[in-house]
C-alpha cells in the first residue's frame, strides 16, 4: 500500500468521524446564559441579536473575568463604562434572580485588534483572560458553546490573531457551531473530532436562532 492510498484512507476516516460528530444531536444546556466575545470582534453583536430573535434573555459582557462570571446573573451589578467595558442584562430576573449561576456561556470567536484596543486588551491578555474564564466554567460545570460566524475571510492564515482565538476556545468547548464558510478548511471539524466535541455547521447566522433555542430551552 503506497503513501497516497494510506493518506486517502486517513482522509476518508477523518471525514467520516467528523460527519458522525457533526450529525450528533444538538446538546441541551439551559439558562441563564452569558454571551461574550473571544477576540472582541463585532460577531458578538450578531450573537446577541440571534438571542433576541430567539426571544431568549441573556447577560452580555465583552470582557468577563472569572470574578464577573462567578457573580452570575446581573454581573454583580456592573455597568457599562466609557473605558470600553460593556455589561448588559436582559435575563428574566423573575426566573433567574440576580446572582444565579450561569448554566451556559457562549463565545463568539473573532479577533479584532480594533475591538481589543477599545477594551484595552492585547492578544496575549485576551488569551490569558479566556483561559481563566474557561477554567472556571469547567470547575462550575458551565456549558461552553463556541460559535464562529465571521466566515472565511475573517479566519485569516495560520498563526493569525483569529486562529489564536480559535485555539483558545474551540478545543475546550462543549459544543461548536460554525458557518460553513468559517470551516471551509475543516479546521473546526478536526478540532471537534480530536476532542470529541459535537459540531454543527450552519449556512448563515440565521441558522443559529433555532440552535440556541434547542440548546438553551
Amino acid at each position: 500500500m503506497n503513501k497516497k492510498i494510506i493518506w486517502g484512507f486517513g482522509a476518508i476516516a477523518a471525514l467520516g468521524v467528523s460527519m458522525l460528530i457533526a450529525g450528533q444531536a444538538v446538546p441541551k444546556a439551559g439558562l441563564p446564559v452569558l454571551t461574550t466575545s473571544a477576540g472582541q470582534s463585532t460577531d458578538v453583536t450578531t450573537l446577541n441579536i440571534v438571542l433576541e430573535e430567539a426571544a431568549i434573555g441573556y447577560d452580555y459582557c465583552d470582557v468577563p473575568t472569572p470574578e464577573i462570571l462567578a457573580d452570575g446573573v446581573g454581573l454583580g451589578g456592573r455597568k457599562s463604562a466609557n473605558t470600553g467595558f460593556y455589561a448588559e442584562s436582559t435575563t428574566d430576573l423573575a426566573k433567574y434572580p440576580a446572582g444565579t449561576q450561569f448554566k451556559t456561556i457562549i463565545f463568539a470567536i473573532g479577533a479584532s485588534l480594533k475591538g481589543m484596543g477599545a477594551s484595552g486588551l492585547t492578544l496575549d491578555s485576551e488569551e490569558a483572560r479566556l483561559k481563566k474564564v474557561i477554567e472556571l466554567c469547567k470547575q462550575k460545570k458551565i456549558f461552553v458553546m463556541a460559535v464562529h460566524i465571521g466566515g472565511e475571510s475573517k479566519r485569516g492564515p495560520a498563526g493569525s490573531d483569529n486562529e489564536r482565538m480559535i485555539d483558545a476556545v474551540a478545543p475546550l468547548a462543549d459544543y461548536i457551531v460554525v458557518t460553513k464558510d468559517s470551516n471551509k478548511d475543516g479546521r473546526f471539524t478536526k478540532i471537534a473530532a480530536a476532542k470529541k466535541i459535537p459540531l454543527t455547521e450552519i449556512e448563515y447566522a440565521l441558522g443559529l436562532v433555532d440552535i440556541v433555542k434547542q440548546v438553551l430551552q
Binding site: 470582534s41 463585532t42 460577531d43 453583536t45 450578531t46 441579536i49 440571534v50 433576541e52 430573535e53 466609557n82 480594533k114 460566524i149 465571521g150 466566515g151 472565511e152 475571510s153 475573517k154 458557518t179 464558510d181 449556512e203 448563515y204 447566522a205 440565521l206 436562532v209
Partner: protein, 574 residues
C-alpha cells in the same frame, strides 16, 4: 499658604479645568444617542458644493480620509470591454486593513479576501482613479465619504453580506456615467448581494458635472440571507440643491424624505418598512418618517458635547455666517444644506478642509491648549475638520462645459491638510504618479509621496506657530499659483483633445505627474529647511549663516503659566 501661591493655584486650577474640558469651550464626551445606535464620531468629513454654489460652476465633493493607520496608496484602473457572460469578482475590502510591505501593497494583495461571489460583468467599465474608495472616473462621476454608523441591530458583519463600502464605490464608479446612475448601481447591488461585513452606516457624496447627492446606506441586520427575498441593504439619497452646500461629519444628514420628488430623492424599496419592522419608526405616531432619526440618530449639539460634534455647526458657520446658526442647536435640527453667503471656490474648499475652528468656542489653541507655539495638535478633545489624522484628502471637481477627461479633477493632499499641498489629477490621466502608489505608516520611504508631507509635518510640530508660516508660503507658491494656472492647462488640453483625445490624455498625464513630482520634491526640501531653520529651538538663517538666540520667543503668557504651575506643585513648607 501665601497670597501669591493662592493666586497661582487658582489660576492653574482654571487652566487645568480648561484643559480637562469641563468648560463649554472644549472636550467632553462623545455623542451618545438613542439606546442602540452605533455612531462613528471620529472618522472622515465630506463637503459637497452644488454647481450654482461654486465660483466656477463646478460640482465639488470632498473626503478627508481621517484614519491614522490606513492605507494611502492610489491606483489608476483603465477602461475595459468585457465579453458577454464574463463575471466580476467581489472582494471583501476593509477600509482599515493593511499588509506589511513584505507581503505586498494593499491594491496588489486585497484579492486574497475573495468574498466568494462573482456577479455578471457589464459590457464596458470606465477608467477611474481610486485609493480607499473610487474617487473619479472618466465620466466625471466623483465620490467622497464619511462613516455615519447605524442602529446596532442593523449591523451585519456576517459573510452573508458580500459587499463592503469600498467595493461598492469601485463598482459604482466603474459602471456609472452619472451620479444618479452610480447611486442606482451601488444601491441595487447592495440590495441584491447584501451590504455590511466590514462596514455599517455610511455616507457617500456622489457628484457629476450637474448634481451632488448625499447617498446613505446601512446594513439590515445579521440575520439577512439572500434567499429571504428581502433587500440586503437599506439606502436613501438626497440631492443637494444646485445653489447649496452641505457636509457630512460622521452624522447622517438625510431627514424627512419625499420619494415623489424624484429629482431630489431616491431610496431602496424597504426604506420605511424596515424601520417599522425593526421598531425604529411607528407610522401610527403621526410623525413623518425621518431617515436619520430612524437609522442613525445622534443626540447633542456642538455645545452640549463640548465640541465633540462641532464640525456640522462649524461648517455652516464658515459658509453661511449670516444664518447665525447656534452651536447649541441639536445637530439633528441643523439644516441638510445651506445657500452659502458667497459662492465658494476650490481654494475656499481647500481652506474648509484645513479648518481648525480657530476663533470659535472650540478653538484648540485657546488658552494654554496649544502650548507656547499654538500647536492645534496638542489638544484633540475638540473634533475639528482638520484633525491631523488624514491619510489624504480629496476635493473632486466635476466641471460642465469641458470634455469629461479634462472637466474632472481630483485634488489630493497627503497627510494633515494644514501642512500639505493639494495636487490635481485630471480624470483623463492614464496613470498616477508612482510615488502615489507606494508606502505605509510603519516604514519610512523616500519613494512614497506621503512621507514627504509627513516629513514636513513632523518638523512643523515643534514650533508650529512659526513653521506653519513657512508651509503657507510654500502652499501659496505650489498650490495657489497652480489653481490659477488650471484654466490655462484646461485650454492646452482642450486644443489637443479637439485634434486627438489620446494626445490630451498624454498631456494631462504628463502634467499631473510632473506637478506631483515638483511638489513632492519641494516638500522634502521644505522639511529639510525647517529642520535647519528651527534647529534646537533657535532661529538659524541659512543665507546669512547666522543664528538668533531667544528666537522663536517663548511668549510671556506661557512663562507665567509655567511659573503658576511650579508654585502649585511646590511641596507645602512647614
Amino acid at each position: 499658604m501665601n497670597a501669591k501661591r493662592l493666586i497661582a493655584m487658582a489660576g492653574t486650577l482654571v487652566l487645568a479645568v480648561l484643559l480637562a474640558g469641563h468648560l463649554s469651550t472644549a472636550g467632553g464626551s462623545g455623542t451618545s444617542d438613542a439606546f442602540d445606535a452605533v455612531i462613528a464620531g471620529e472618522g472622515c468629513t465630506s463637503i459637497l458644493v452644488g454647481k450654482d454654489a461654486s465660483t466656477d460652476g463646478s460640482v465639488m465633493a470632498t473626503h478627508t480620509c481621517d484614519c491614522g493607520t490606513c492605507d494611502w496608496t492610489w491606483r489608476h484602473v483603465p477602461a475595459a470591454d468585457h465579453k458577454p457572460g464574463s463575471t466580476r469578482k467581489i472582494y471583501h475590502v476593509s477600509q482599515y486593513k493593511t499588509w506589511p510591505p513584505s507581503e505586498g501593497l494593499k491594491w496588489d494583495v486585497y484579492k486574497k479576501d475573495f468574498a466568494g461571489l462573482e456577479i455578471p460583468q457589464v459590457p464596458h467599465t470606465y477608467a477611474y482613479h481610486h485609493a480607499m474608495f473610487g474617487y473619479m472616473n472618466e465620466k466625471q462621476v466623483a465620490i467622497g465619504e464619511s462613516t455615519i454608523g447605524c442602529q446596532r441591530k442593523m449591523q451585519n458583519p456576517t459573510p452573508a453580506a458580500k459587499l463592503d463600502l469600498t467595493m461598492l464605490t469601485l463598482l459604482g464608479i466603474e459602471r456609472a456615467a452619472t451620479a444618479r446612475e452610480a447611486i442606482q448601481v451601488m444601491g441595487s447591488l447592495a440590495e441584491k448581494y447584501g451590504y455590511g461585513f466590514h462596514d455599517d452606516g455610511e455616507m457617500l457624496a456622489v457628484a457629476d458635472p450637474k448634481e451632488a447627492w448625499i447617498f446613505e446606506i446601512c446594513p439590515v441586520g445579521p440575520l439577512w440571507t439572500p434567499e429571504s427575498g428581502k433587500p440586503g441593504a437599506v439606502w436613501c439619497a438626497q440631492r443637494v440643491p444646485d445653489d447649496h452646500v452641505s457636509v457630512c461629519p460622521n452624522e447622517s444628514r438625510i431627514g424627512e424624505i419625499n420619494l415623489d420628488n424624484k429629482d431630489f430623492f431616491m431610496a431602496s424599496p424597504n426604506v420605511v418598512s424596515l424601520a417599522v419592522e425593526m421598531g425604529f419608526y411607528d407610522p401610527q405616531s403621526g410623525k413623518p418618517f425621518n431617515w436619520k432619526k430612524a437609522y442613525s440618530p445622534v443626540n447633542g449639539s456642538a455645545a452640549s458635547t463640548n465640541g465633540r460634534i462641532q464640525r456640522l455647526w462649524r461648517f455652516f458657520d464658515i459658509v453661511a455666517p449670516s444664518q447665525k446658526l447656534k452651536p447649541e442647536t441639536p445637530n439633528m435640527d441643523l439644516p441638510f444644506s445651506v445657500k452659502p453667503d458667497a459662492k465658494v471656490s476650490v481654494q475656499d474648499v481647500m481652506a474648509m478642509t484645513r479648518d481648525r475652528s480657530y476663533g470659535t468656542p472650540f478653538d484648540p489653541v485657546l488658552g494654554i491648549r496649544g502650548g507656547p507655539f499654538k500647536n492645534p495638535n496638542y489638544y484633540r478633545q475638540t473634533r475639528v475638520i482638520d484633525h491631523g489624522l488624514a491619510e489624504y484628502s480629496t476635493i473632486t471637481q466635476s466641471r460642465a462645459g469641458l470634455p469629461d477627461p479634462i472637466g474632472g479633477i481630483v485634488w489630493i493632499a497627503f497627510g494633515s491638510q494644514d501642512t500639505s499641498c493639494y495636487m490635481p489629477l485630471y480624470a483623463g490621466m492614464t496613470e498616477v504618479p508612482k510615488s502615489f502608489m507606494v508606502g505605509d505608516h510603519w516604514t519610512f520611504s523616500r519613494d512614497s509621496v506621503r512621507w514627504a508631507f509627513d516629513y514636513t509635518d513632523f518638523h512643523v510640530q515643534v514650533v508650529y506657530s512659526e513653521a506653519i508660516k513657512d508651509v503657507q508660503a510654500a502652499q501659496a507658491k505650489y498650490e495657489t499659483e497652480l489653481v490659477a494656472r488650471i484654466p490655462e492647462i484646461d485650454q492646452q488640453a482642450l486644443a489637443l483633445y479637439k485634434k486627438k483625445p489620446a494626445e490630451a490624455a498624454k498631456f494631462l498625464t504628463g502634467f499631473g505627474i510632473n506637478n506631483a513630482t515638483t511638489v513632492t520634491n519641494a516638500w522634502w526640501k521644505l522639511g529639510d529647511d525647517l529642520l535647519v531653520k528651527y534647529n534646537r529651538l533657535y532661529l538659524y538663517n541659512a543665507e546669512k549663516r547666522g543664528m538668533v538666540r531667544g528666537q522663536p520667543a517663548t511668549p510671556e503668557w506661557w512663562k507665567k503659566a509655567a511659573r503658576a504651575f511650579d508654585i502649585l506643585m511646590e511641596p507645602d513648607k512647614k
